[in-house]
Amino acid sequence: MAEKKLIDARGSFCPGPLMELIGAMKMVEVGDEIEILSTDKGSANEIPQWIKKVGHEHLGTREEAGVWHVNVRRSK
């Protein structure tokens, strides 16, 4: 069954959250979901672009109280 992993990268500046996501992406299985938390607006924009470029699935981005939640599914 697909797992969901949460990464808390709040407080870290670009490209810290992206690099944390990529490190985690290597540890999960194809089909698993990762939700990454970031307070860095640049990273909230950058992460979906990276997801699209490398071919994973961007499940959505939402902001709650200054924290961006970006959800991604490992596709390959």
């Binding site: 500046f13 490209p15 690099m19 490190g23 290597k26 990276w50 470029k53």
Partner: protein, 131 residues
């Protein structure tokens, strides 16, 4: 003609902002499907001595702002470029000779010394960034 996905980053500066930007381009480039080559020379090389934890001086106000904030350290980003994105890091053989360094004196993620003939050949046809 197919678009080249080769990125070469020449790192010379000992200033915080320059080292940071070089590390950002190298790491993000490497994890985004590009073939990244990092060439370390001049004043940048000594930061990559094994275990070196030297604080790079700020060049201007943004470099000063970076201090104390949770900005990923540039050495960590270069290491991640290698570990997560298969980037290659090579020190310039001239700077190695000047500083009296051997390969084993550098961080383990830094490869063998490279001369300019080889670097220019490797960088041919791709993007080249210099800091």
């Amino acid at each position: 003609m197919a678009e080249s996905n080769k990125i070469s980053v020449v790192v010379l500066s000992d200033k915080r902002e320059q080292l940071q930007m070089a590390a950002m381009i190298a790491s993000v480039g490497a994890v985004s499907g590009n073939e990244v080559l990092i060439f370390l020379s001049m004043n940048a090389l000594r930061y990559f001595a094994k275990g070196a934890d030297i604080e790079a001086p700020a060049e201007g106000p943004v470099g000063t702002l970076m201090q104390g904030k949770k900005v990923p350290p540039f050495k960590t980003l270069f290491e991640q470029a290698v570990s997560l994105g298969d980037a290659k890091i090579h020190p310039c053989s001239m700077a190695m000779d000047l500083l009296g360094f051997e390969s084993e004196d550098l961080e383990p993620y830094v490869g063998e010394a490279m001369g300019l003939t080889m670097f220019l050949d490797e960088a041919k046809g791709g993007q080249v960034w210099s800091f």
